[in-house]
C-alpha cells in the first residue's frame, strides 16, 4: 500500500477518505493520492490449484515437458505485458491487473483455480493407433476432422478409442499437439466458456489498459502489434525450449492475419461480462481517453488548428458524450452502446469540420478563397486557416504515407526464424524449406541493391507530425479560424449556416452490424478525404468512423430530426 511519509508530519499512518484519497491519520492532511481501485473481489474464493504441479512428466525425446494451452497463453500475455511496460505503461498492469484478470478467467473457464480442471471430465477423442499415421499431409481424415471443427461427433471413424484419463490423453494426443490439451481445446463445445484465442490476448491487454486508463487507445495498441512492438505474430518463439509446439498447437498459437479492431473490441466486452467485472474506473475529463483529450491529439496529428478544440469541446458537451457515465464501461450492460474512444474522438472532429466547412465539395473551397482574401489584408500577424492549403499539404503527406504503408503490407514478414512443424515427420521437410527460403532471400537480397531492411522504427504515438518551426508554412496548428468565422451578438460563429446529415435514419446496429452503410460514391469527396485521413491514422475502415459521425449527428440534431424527418436532409442550425 501507500508507504510514503506524510508531507506535514512525516508519519506513516494512512487512512482512506470516502473519496478514496489517502489522508494522514496523525495530522489529517489529505493528499491527492488516490488509491487505485484494484478490485480483486471479482475473484471468488475457491480453493486455488496451481497450473504447474510439481513434477513434470519429462518426455523421453527432445526433452520436452507437458504443458497446457492456457500456460502458453499465459506466457503470451506475460510477454505482451512486458512489452507494454517497455512502452511506458505502468508496471501495475503486468503485475496486478492483467494477472488478476487472467486468473479470474482461468477460474471462470474452469481451467484452473477451481476444484477440477476441465480436461479431466471431458472425454478425449483420439483416433486409434493404426490410423494415426500423421505424415506431412495434414489432410488425413482424423486431423481434418479436428481442424475443421466439425460439430457432429458422429463423423469420427467408428474404431475410435476413448481416453478417459489425462495420462492417456497426453500419450495419444501428443502426436497432434505438443500441448497436452491441444486437441481438446479446439473442440467446439468450449464455446460457452469463451475459449481463449490469440486475438483475445489483445482483448485482455486492452481491458487491462482500460482499467488503468492508460494513454493507449485500441487502435494504437493494434498498430503497435502490427509494427512489431508488441509480441503477437510468432510470439511462440519466446516459449521456452521445453514447451514443444506442434500439431494442433499451431492452429491455436499461430497467427496469419493482423488483429481486427472490431473483433478485439467485441471480445473484450464479452470477456469483461464473462469475468463479471464491475464498473470500470471512471473516465473523467482529465483522462487521456476522454474525447476532449483525444481530440487534442488527433487535431494535432491531422494538422488542424488548435482553435478547433473549442468547437470539439462544445459538441462533446452538447451531446453529453463527455459524461462519466457515458464513457465508463459497465460490463454486461447490453442496453448502452459501447464507446470506442478513438473512433468517437475522430468522429467529433469530422462533425466539427462539417459544421464549419460544410464539406459539400463546394462551400469549403469558397470559404477557403475568402480566408485567402482576408489573409492578404491580414495585419494581425497570425495566419487565417485556409482549407485549400491544408488540404494540399495533408493530402500530399497522406498519399506518401499511404503508399509506404501499402508497400509495407506487401513486404510484411510473417514467418520467423523458429520453424514450425506439424509433426515430427514433417520436421525435416520444414527445415529444408526454411533453409531454401533463407538462401533465396540472401541471393535476391544481394540483387536488391543497397536497400536493406532498416531496423524496426521505434514506436511512436504520432504517425504524422507537423512542426511550427518549418518555414514552408506546412503546419496549421497555430492558424486562426477567424478567417471563416463571423461576429454575431459579440460571439464568433461559423459563417456556414447549413449542415447535411450523413443519414436520415440510423440502422439497427444489432441487426446489420452498422449504424449506416458507407459508400464512397454517395458522399462528397472532401468528406471522404477527411474520413480517409482518420481511417489511416486509426487503421480502420472509413465506414466505422462514418457510423460514429452518424451517431453524433443524430444526437446533435435530435430535436430537429424528430420534427423534420420527412423533409430533405439539409437543415438550418
Amino acid at each position: 500500500d501507500f508507504n510514503e511519509r506524510c508531507a506535514q508530519c512525516s508519519e506513516v499512518n494512512w487512512g482512506l477518505t470516502d473519496g478514496g484519497r489517502y489522508y494522514c491519520r496523525s495530522c489529517h492532511n489529505v493528499t491527492e493520492r488516490a488509491r487505485e481501485v484494484v478490485n480483486t473481489d471479482f475473484m471468488t474464493n475457491s480453493r486455488v490449484q496451481t497450473i504447474s504441479k510439481g513434477l513434470r512428466k519429462q518426455e523421453k525425446n527432445g526433452g520436452g515437458c507437458e504443458w497446457y494451452v492456457c500456460e502458453g497463453f499465459q506466457l503470451v500475455l506475460k510477454k505482451q505485458a512486458e512489452a507494454l511496460e517497455a512502452l511506458g505503461v505502468c508496471s501495475q498492469m503486468k503485475d496486478e491487473i492483467l494477472c488478476n484478470f487472467w486468473r479470474c478467467y482461468l477460474q471462470k473457464s474452469k481451467q484452473a483455480y477451481c476444484n477440477r480442471p476441465a480436461g479431466e471430465t471431458v472425454k478425449a477423442l483420439s483416433v486409434c493407433e493404426s490410423s494415426t499415421d500423421v505424415d506431412s499431409e495434414p489432410d488425413r481424415p482424423s486431423l481434418l476432422h479436428l481442424l475443421s471443427l466439425s460439430e457432429s461427433e458422429g463423423d469420427l471413424q467408428t474404431d475410435c478409442s476413448f481416453a478417459s484419463s489425462m495420462s492417456k490423453v497426453s500419450e495419444s494426443t501428443s502426436m497432434y499437439s505438443g500441448s497436452v490439451d491441444g486437441s481438446l481445446y479446439l473442440m467446439k463445445n468450449q464455446k460457452e466458456k469463451l475459449r481463449m484465442t490469440m486475438p483475445m490476448t489483445l482483448s485482455f491487454c486492452y481491458m487491462a489498459l482500460l482499467w488503468l486508463r492508460e494513454p493507449i487507445t485500441l487502435s494504437e495498441l493494434l498498430r503497435f502489434v502490427v509494427e512489431g512492438h508488441i509480441p503477437y505474430l510468432n510470439v511462440f518463439q519466446h516459449f521456452p525450449e521445453k514447451m514443444k509446439l506442434c500439431g494442433l498447437d499451431l492452429k491455436i498459437f499461430c497467427v496469419e492475419s493482423w488483429p481486427v479492431y472490431e473483433e478485439v473490441h467485441n471480445k473484450m466486452l464479452e470477456l469483461a461480462a464473462f469475468l463479471d467485472l464491475p464498473r470500470f474506473p471512471d473516465i473523467t475529463e482529465s483522462c487521456f481517453l476522454h474525447p476532449d483529450m483525444l481530440c487534442i491529439k488527433y487535431l494535432m496529428e491531422a494538422n488542424l488548428p488548435d482553435e478547433l478544440h473549442n468547437w470539439t469541446c462544445r459538441v462533446v458537451k452538447k451531446i453529453g458524450i463527455g459524461e462519466v457515465d457515458f464513457l465508463t464501461l459497465v460490463p454486461g450492460n447490453k442496453s448502452t452502446r459501447k464507446v470506442k474512444y478513438d473512433i468517437l474522438a475522430a468522429a467529433v472532429i469530422v462533425v466539427v469540420l462539417k459544421l464549419l466547412f460544410l464539406l459539400d465539395d463546394h462551400y469549403e473551397w469558397l470559404l477557403s478563397d475568402l480566408a485567402e482574401e482576408r489573409n492578404k489584408n491580414n495585419k494581425e500577424g497570425g495566419l487565417y486557416f485556409e482549407f485549400r492549403k491544408w488540404y494540399e499539404v495533408v493530402k500530399h503527406a497522406l498519399d506518401v504515407e499511404q503508399k509506404k504503408l501499402d508497400e509495407e503490407r506487401a513486404k510484411y514478414v510473417w514467418r520467423c526464424e523458429k520453424p514450425l512443424f506439424y509433426s515430427v515427420k514433417n520436421k525435416s521437410r520444414v527445415l529444408k524449406r526454411r533453409q531454401m527460403v533463407v538462401n533465396l532471400q540472401n541471393q535476391f537480397g544481394k540483387l536488391s541493391g543497397s536497400v536493406q531492411r532498416a531496423e524496426k522504427p521505434s514506436p511512436s504515438s504520432f504517425q504524422l507530425s507537423w512542426s511550427e518551426e518549418n518555414t514552408d508554412g506546412s503546419c496549421f496548428h497555430g492558424h486562426s479560424l477567424k478567417g471563416i468565422l463571423q461576429e454575431k451578438c459579440g460571439l464568433l460563429t461559423a459563417m456556414n449556416p447549413d449542415y447535411w446529415l450523413c443519414t436520415v435514419k440510423l440502422c439497427n446496429e444489432k441487426l446489420c452490424g452498422h449504424l449506416a452503410h458507407y459508400r464512397e460514391v454517395d458522399f462528397p469527396q472532401s468528406y471522404h478525404f477527411v474520413l480517409r485521413l482518420f481511417s489511416f491514422l486509426l487503421r480502420i475502415q472509413p465506414s466505422y468512423i462514418h457510423d460514429e459521425v452518424c451517431m453524433i449527428e443524430h444526437k446533435l440534431f435530435n430535436k430537429k430530426l424528430y420534427k423534420k424527418l420527412k423533409y430533405n436532409t439539409v437543415l438550418r442550425k
Binding site: W414, L440, F444, L447
Partner: protein
C-alpha cells in the same frame, strides 16, 4: 484497396506479387528482386490447392530477374536453378529443360550436355512415368547436342581429310556421336509434333551415311502423316531433299503443291511457278499461273523482280499464243478491284522507275497486258523508259500496242 486495414498472409503475398509484376514490367530488376525476397517465405505455406503455387512463381520470376539483372552471373543462375530443381518434384524435368535452354543460349554447350545427361538418368517413382513427355524432350535435345558434336567431328575429319591425315579417334568419336544422336532423334519424331530442328538433323545424319530410304520415309511421314500438325516446313524439307536426290519434276511439283495450299506466299513459289510453267501438261501450266498470282497478292512480294518476271513471262506467252486468255481473265477477275491500287498506282510507277528499272519493266509489261496501254503505270514507265532510250522499253511499248485488242479482251 488501400483502405483495407485488414491483412492476412495470403493477401499480403498477393500484394507482394503485384509489386513484383509491376517492377518487372517496368524493367526495374532491383526492385523486383527486393520484393521477391519478401515473397519467398510463401514457400513455407501450403498452397496445394492453387493452380500455380509459390514455388513455380518463384522459379519463373527468379529466372527472369536473374536473366536481366545487370549484376547477376551464370554462376548465380546455375545455383538458383539447382535450388529450383529440388523445389518441386513434379516440375523437375521441366526446370532441367529450361535450365538447359538458358545454358545453350549462353553458349555453355558442355554444361548443357552434362545437365541433359543427368536429367536423363533421373528416376522418381511414378513421377518418371507422368513426366515422360519432358523426358522425351530431354533425350531429344541430348540427341541434338550429339548431332552437334558429330558435326564438329565431321568437319575436323573433312579438314584433315584434305590434308591426307585420317584421324581414327576422331572418326570413332564421330560414329559414336552418330549412334547416340540417331537413337534419340528417331524417338522424338515418332510423336506427333513440330520437330523441325530434330528432323533436319536426323535427315542430315541419314544422308551422310547413305540411308536415303530412311530419310525419305521420315520426311514423308513428317509431311503427310495427318496426326502431325500442319507444318509448311515439313514440305520444304521434303522438297529440298528430293531436289538433292535429283528426283523428277513430277515428284518435286507434288511436294510443293501442299506448300502452295498452306503458304501461298512462300519463297519457293517462284521455283514452283518456274517448274509449272515449263510443264507440258496444261493443268500444270494453269496451276503455275494461279501460284504466281497468289504469291503477288502479298505485300512482301511487291518489289520482287523475279516474281514479276515469272508472271510477265507467263502472261506474255499466253498473249502471244492467244490461247488460254480466259486463264488470265479468271485470275484477274478477283484482283482487278484492288491490284491497280496495290501494284500499279502512279506513285508506285514513279518509285519503281526511280529505284529499280528492271522491276518497273516487268511490272509495266504485266500492267500493260492486264490494264491496257492507257493505264497509268504502263504509260508512265514506258514513257520514261523510251525517254531514257532504253531499248527494251521501246520493245515493250511496241508489244503492248500491238496486242492491245487482246489486252482489252482481258481487262474488259
Amino acid at each position: 484497396s488501400s483502405y483495407e486495414h485488414k491483412l492476412n498472409f495470403r493477401r499480403s503475398k498477393e500484394a507482394c506479387l503485384s509489386y513484383i509484376q509491376d517492377a518487372m514490367l517496368q524493367k526495374q530488376w532491383k526492385r523486383a528482386a527486393e520484393f521477391l525476397t519478401f515473397y519467398v517465405e510463401s514457400l513455407e505455406k501450403d498452397y496445394s490447392r492453387e493452380q500455380i503455387g509459390p514455388s513455380e512463381m518463384i522459379w519463373r520470376i527468379g529466372t527472369e530477374i536473374l536473366c536481366h539483372h545487370s549484376r547477376s552471373s551464370m554462376k548465380e543462375f546455375n545455383c538458383f536453378m539447382e535450388q529450383m530443381k529440388t523445389l518441386g518434384v513434379k516440375r523437375y524435368l521441366k526446370v532441367c529443360l529450361e535450365h538447359v535452354f538458358h545454358l545453350l543460349c549462353n553458349g555453355q554447350i558442355d554444361e548443357a550436355y552434362q545437365n541433359l545427361s543427368l536429367a536423363e538418368s533421373w528416376r522418381f517413382g511414378e513421377q518418371t512415368a507422368i513426366q515422360n513427355k519432358e523426358m522425351k524432350l530431354i533425350q531429344a535435345y541430348r540427341g541434338l547436342l550429339d548431332y552437334y558434336n558429330w558435326s564438329k567431328q565431321k568437319n575436323i575429319l573433312l579438314e584433315h581429310g584434305l590434308d591426307g591425315f585420317a584421324d581414327l579417334s576422331v572418326e570413332q568419336e564421330m560414329h559414336s556421336c552418330f549412334r547416340k544422336a540417331v537413337m534419340n532423334l528417331k524417338e522424338i519424331i515418332k510423336t506427333p509434333g513440330v520437330w523441325d530442328l530434330f528432323v533436319k538433323c536426323y535427315v542430315d545424319l541419314l544422308e551422310f551415311y547413305g540411308d536415303h530410304n530412311e530419310a525419305r520415309q521420315v520426311l514423308n511421314e513428317y509431311a503427310y502423316n495427318s496426326r502431325f500438325p500442319a507444318n509448311p516446313n515439313a514440305h520444304v524439307y521434303l522438297y529440298q531433299f528430293l531436289k538433292r536426290q535429283g528426283e523428277s519434276k513430277k515428284s518435286l511439283i507434288s511436294a510443293l503443291k501442299i506448300l502452295h495450299d498452306i503458304v501461298p506466299s512462300h519463297e519457293l513459289m517462284i521455283d514452283f511457278n518456274t517448274m509449272l510453267q515449263k510443264s507440258k501438261k496444261r493443268k500444270k501450266r494453269r496451276l503455275g499461273l494461279e501460284v504466281i498470282f497468289a504469291a503477288l497478292d502479298y505485300a512482301g512480294w511487291k518489289e520482287n523482280v523475279k516474281a514479276w518476271s515469272c508472271l510477265a513471262r507467263q502472261v506474255k506467252q499466253i498473249v502471244i499464243s492467244e490461247k488460254y486468255l480466259d486463264w488470265i481473265k479468271e485470275e484477274w477477275s478477283s484482283r482487278k478491284d484492288w491490284w491497280p491500287a496495290f501494284h500499279f498506282s502512279r506513285y508506285l510507277a514513279k518509285r519503281n522507275w526511280q529505284e529499280n528499272e528492271s522491276l518497273s519493266y516487268e511490272k509495266a509489261l504485266v500492267a500493260g497486258i492486264l490494264l491496257g496501254k492507257d493505264c497509268k503505270y504502263f504509260k508512265y514507265v514506258s514513257h520514261q523508259g523510251c525517254k531514257a532510250q532504253v531499248k527494251r522499253f521501246r520493245m515493250l511499248k511496241k508489244f503492248v500496242n500491238r496486242h492491245n485488242l487482246v489486252c482489252l479482251r482481258i481487262s474488259g
